[in-house]
């Protein structure tokens, strides 16, 4: 330690004066303590509230919580299935009951089942004759070829009458 450092030490020590701890300073100190304690309590309360809110939001946003579906809870399947239920034994008209096997395609469908994929739409009257009377179409029907045209027209009319009931019953 050289002379300057010794002088620096003396200067710093000489400047020390006795300053009593006055009541006003004490009151100010405890006021600061009260303010700090209050702010700490508020910070803790706010932090806790934020934590609880975040936890609640997180639990609410978890996928599948509360809306998880069990197989037993599923509702029954709707009646619109590709295989409608079998027709009732009570016929709506004699022509429909007799013409159904003729217009249907028994060679491609199982007994008791209609064949919607190969059956022409009933709402398009000009499509069914072309589909049934196309010469190049393969002979999938077992209907005898010598059926008179009058019978074919009656069959088509019966088909147009029966098909809406089938779709209504199916749908």
């Amino acid at each position: 330690m050289d002379d300057f450092e010794r002088e620096l030490t003396r200067l710093m020590h000489d400047g020390r004066r006795h300053a009593p701890f006055e009541p006003g300073q004490r009151a100010r100190l405890y006021e600061g303590i009260r303010v700090r304690r209050r702010s700490r309590v508020l910070w803790r309360a706010g932090g806790s509230a934020l934590a609880v809110a975040g936890l609640g939001i997180g639990l609410a946003l978890l996928p599948g919580t509360g809306t998880r579906s069990l197989p037993a809870d599923r509702p029954p399947l709707p009646a619109t299935s590709p295989t409608p239920p079998p027709l009732s034994p009570v016929p709506t008209s004699p022509a429909a009951s007799t013409s159904l096997p003729a217009t249907g395609m028994p060679g491609t469908t199982a007994p008791g089942h209609a064949a919607p994929p190969t059956f022409p739409p009933s709402g398009t009257p000009d499509a069914s004759p072309s589909a049934t009377h196309t010469p190049s179409s393969p002979p999938v029907s077992t209907r005898p070829p010598d059926t008179p045209p009058a019978t074919q027209e009656a069959t088509q009319e019966a088909t147009q009458e029966v098909s809406p009931s089938m779709t209504a019953g199916g749908g």
Binding site: D14, G15, R16, A19, P20, R26
Partner: protein, 168 residues
Amino acid sequence: MERYRADGFDEFVAARWSALLHVARLLTGGDRQRAEDLVQEALVKLWFAWPRVAEQAPEAYVRQVLVRMAARSARRRWWGERPVGELPDRAGPGDVSAAVAERSRLEAALALLPPRQRAAVVLRYCEDLPEGQVAQALGCPVGTARSHASRGVARLRQLLSDSVRPVG
């Protein structure tokens, strides 16, 4: 419990208030109001830590808080210059206020140091702390604290070379 803590705390504050205020004044470069604010804030922190540090080293805790708060407040805001209505009188040779002027000059020179260097010089030459405790208060290695102190002293030597002379 609060009363027990307040009793021991009050005794400590009453005993060390003057010394803490003097260190804080040097750390702030002679700003008495800011020094008092720093001591108040450091003692508020000490009150909450009192159950932990009362039996160990409460003064070291306050000293460390003071150094860090002084450095932080120096970074936060410029405190060194304040407008006044009248210029203060300069002390002449043989004036009875020569000691006061000398101290004011020391504080003004300390205010020109960076906060870390100032803290190292004050703790080393005013509090007479060893280098290890200076480093602990600064929160840095001993070599860094020694470097801060030596650079601060060199800067003060340059600033006070014409005023700090042994009186023959």
